[in-house]
């Protein structure tokens, strides 16, 4: 028997059917293509954690060349949008009105104290905006120290050491750079786990599998035909994210693009198999959706290090997060995008991901049988 052509013929027929259904069902396109783009723009532009034109009150209680020089870092800076006042109470009023979030206070005796080497600058921050406050503080600190260093050097001719913080791998400390790998992971998880679980569960629910199974079709072909279209959708979604990240946020790709793509496909295979496992267990769209949300989407967002840095989480959470394949994929992506090809990490994470892929593929095939309950 010429089994091979028959296999291809059936696979082609099933895949064609899946694509026809996919294209007629707007929700899959919405989830696979529109949602990733929406996410990348919303998160990229809307969820920025960066300091950008923070309204700042600069109190120049003593109008001297020294103070003006010390405060010059606020002029023309893209980080601050300064308002100049002459007394602290005026600035406090502005702060209470929420007109400013930061007050940089040069006290009346600033130049005198500075001459004695005791110059202090007071920085008042609006704690309601904690993240902005922290970043702003760091910027102000850095700026003032830089200025003090240059002053000291000019005056005494002595080398003065000062700590200048520098953020590695994300020079501009742009949070959109940090988020894009996370969005890639979200897109792959959504198209992989959700769409696959839903379309498989739909066939169980509508009873279409019952008639499909009593044909020469093999279960392997049914599964493969389900996976191919959603693999494609996910890859398209990911491609859009990469292009959007590159064009809109100048996302660096310090590692190899091929590695990025390859690792993403590996992760996608894990996601698709998880989707298949969920649908085989639930056989019901509503349940499949709930389970997919609980076991894939939420942990992906909360526990993988996408929103919250893993190192600052409680021990127990860290342990849980190391059971999730997403954690390793995200770690790998961040490293590939922002740091470059660091082979030991790549080798370790790839091995772990391959292990997960093998396990979920096996489980999916083990659970999906040509049987009805």
């Amino acid at each position: 028997m010429n089994g091979f052509p028959a296999f291809l013929r059936r696979l082609r027929a099933l895949t064609r059917k899946e694509f026809a259904q996919l294209l007629r069902d707007n929700s899959s396109i919405l989830m696979g293509v529109v949602l990733p783009l929406a996410l990348i723009f919303i998160i990229g532009y809307g969820m920025s954690l960066d300091v950008d034109r923070v309204p700042t009150a600069v109190v120049l209680a003593e109008d001297s060349p020294t103070t003006r020089s010390a405060a010059s870092f606020t002029v023309g800076s893209r980080y601050f949008s300064p308002v100049y006042v002459h007394s602290l109470p005026e600035a406090e009023v502005l702060m209470r009105q929420h007109a400013v979030n930061v007050i940089v206070h040069f006290p009346p005796d600033f130049s005198a104290k500075l001459a004695r080497g005791e110059g202090t600058v007071q920085v008042l921050l609006n704690g309601e905006e904690a993240t902005t406050a922290m970043s702003a503080q760091a910027y102000v600190q850095a700026a003032v120290l830089t200025w003090a260093a240059s002053q000291g050097a000019a005056r005494a001719g002595l080398g003065q050491a000062s700590v200048v913080p520098r953020v590695w791998f994300n020079d501009a400390n742009t949070s959109s750079w940090f988020f894009v790998p996370g969005i890639l992971m979200l897109v792959l998880t959504i198209s992989g786990v959700f769409l696959t679980a839903m379309v498989m569960a739909r066939e169980w629910e509508r009873g279409t599998f019952e008639s499909l199974f009593v044909t020469p079709v093999r279960i392997f072909e049914v599964i493969l035909a389900k996976v191919i279209p959603y693999f494609t959708v996910a890859i398209v979604g990911m491609g859009l994210c990469l292009v959007a990240g590159r064009l809109c946020y100048d996302l660096p790709m310090r590692g190899s693009l091929w590695l990025i793509l390859g690792e993403s496909m590996l992760y996608l295979i894990i996601a698709l198999s998880m989707g298949l496992v969920i649908s085989a267990l639930t056989k019901n769209q509503y349940l499949a959706c709930q389970v997919a949300l609980l076991v894939s989407f939420l942990p992906t967002v909360m526990l993988s290090g996408f929103l919250f840095d893993l190192h600052s989480q409680p021990q127990a959470i860290q342990v849980i997060s190391h059971f999730l394949p997403t954690t390793y994929y995200l770690e790998l992506m961040k490293s590939l995008f922002l740091a470059g090809n660091y082979w030991p990490l790549i080798a370790e994470d790839t091995a772990i991901l391959l292990g997960y892929a093998g396990f979920f593929i096996w489980l999916a095939f083990y659970l999906t049988r040509k049987k009805v309950a």
Binding site: K17, T215, V217
Partner: protein, 602 residues
Amino acid sequence: MATDEAVIEVHGLTKAFYPKGLCKVVALDHVDLRVARGELTALVGPDGAGKTTLMRLVTGLMAPTAGTLTVVGYDVRQQAQAVQDRLSYMPQKFGLYEDLTVQENMNLYADLHGVPRAERTGRFNHLLSMMGLERFTGRLAGKLSGGMKQKLGLACTLVRSPDLLLLDEPTVGVDPLSRRELWTVLQQLVGEEHLSVFVSTAYMDEAARCQQVYVLNQGRMLAHDTPAGLTRRAQGLCYRVAPPKGVATRVLQSALLDDPAVQDAVPVGGQVHFITSVPDGRVGLLTRHGLTAQPAEARLEDAFMLLLHADQNGAANGRGETTLRGKAVGEDASNTSAAAAEQLAPVPAGEGDQVDIEVRDLVKKFGDFTAVAHTSFQVHRGEVFGLLGPNGAGKTTTFRMLCGLLPATSGQLSVAGVDLRKARTQARAHIGYVAQKFSLYEKLTVYENLCFFGGIYGLPRQQLAARIEAVMQEFQLTSRRDQPAISLPGGYKQRLAMAAALLHKPRILFLDEPTSGIDPLARRTFWQQITRLAAQGTTIIITTHFMDEAEYCDRMMIQDHGELLVLGRPSDIRRRMHLPDADMNEIFIAIVEQSREEGAKT
């Protein structure tokens, strides 16, 4: 091809299920079966008999608990795929892809079965023209009517000529006309291609078209014979009698069912068709009322009912339904005749009296889809009014509007003298509603369910306690008081739902498809209860897709595609159609064909 060659050979087949938290259910119990090549073999049995389980076992989609199972020469346990390669199967809920077109659905199955391109065009055209689907090849399967979907399902299973065709209730819920058309196609194909077909059905007229009939009940095979052979079992036992003037057919039928000498009774064509071993059909009830029965031709259905009754009684000692009527039967037996004699008194004709429901020019649209088109009718006090039509005819939509569950797009609606548009809540106090799926709380017991429903009707505590006792007695639920609803058999669930709907003594009782999914014996009991309620003056509106149940109604209307096709007394309709002896299926077909002809003229 030798006709004695078997395509299905089954011995001692047993299938047990172990549902979570419930005790073991034996769906099939040592079943033997043999389907010969080139023949049409029917599997008949009431809902829940195990027909679908048997079909699934034959296809290899389920594994048997015990027994041997050989299909088209292969052991299904060992070589399920080999069997699946060779047979075609149409499950009850045929898996058409609703978002694919007719053509795409057929192409998919042709590709899966490896039908060569060259053969395809000719075969597709032949199938499509037989099914009357040629004009719809580009239409999405989801947009086809129920009957057309079934035909497309059949077409998909026949993209090539299979070694065995398995059909699981291919016509359930389909209108009589589509049903007839589907069978014509099937028989034509069997003739052309010598197909071997194994078909399960709940309709006896369909089983009568087959060469062999197997009767399955509660997982056990009761009998197996040719249709004629089975029918002979009821030969000489069937009679017909017309009710006295002014007495509804169902009243006489119900009284006859209560007679210990009568095995079965159904209203047919304005008469009561009954089975008895008493010579000349001279049962006590009839002689007391001076009625004489005429011998009638035995039907396959009569044989089927005899088998079911016998099975129910555990080897026939008199008449059936012991289990269904519960313990009350023994007490009843002594005074049945008296009660029956009393019941035979003509019911005061409700017509012209008080109108309980008035519907004028009712319309319901969902977007641009018209579910109910310009429908007007009246229902009188104490009447049994039937809403008939196939699935998707608009029955349930009409119903929901009458109960105030769905606002009408336009038209007038008054229930119990209250305008539904103005005072919905007030109208609801007068109505009881039994929904299609019997909205019961499965984890609550019979008693708890009744308490809950009594509570939401706002009955005072003392009155509620009394009413609960009364309805439990009336529906023989007392012995099952503390059983959770989920563990009740289908017939009892339906009774509990009715009991709950009657707690507040409504003037009008609405029943939506109460008899679907219930076996024929329980259906008989159900209609007896309806007869009793109607005699007490309750107005009853009921929907059903069993056309023959129209015979129980005083008046009825038939809907199809949202249109009101006909309205009136069953006997008047028969007269109007000039088909005095026709059953309701024939009437439906005649009416649809007539309305289509008129449509073609204009």
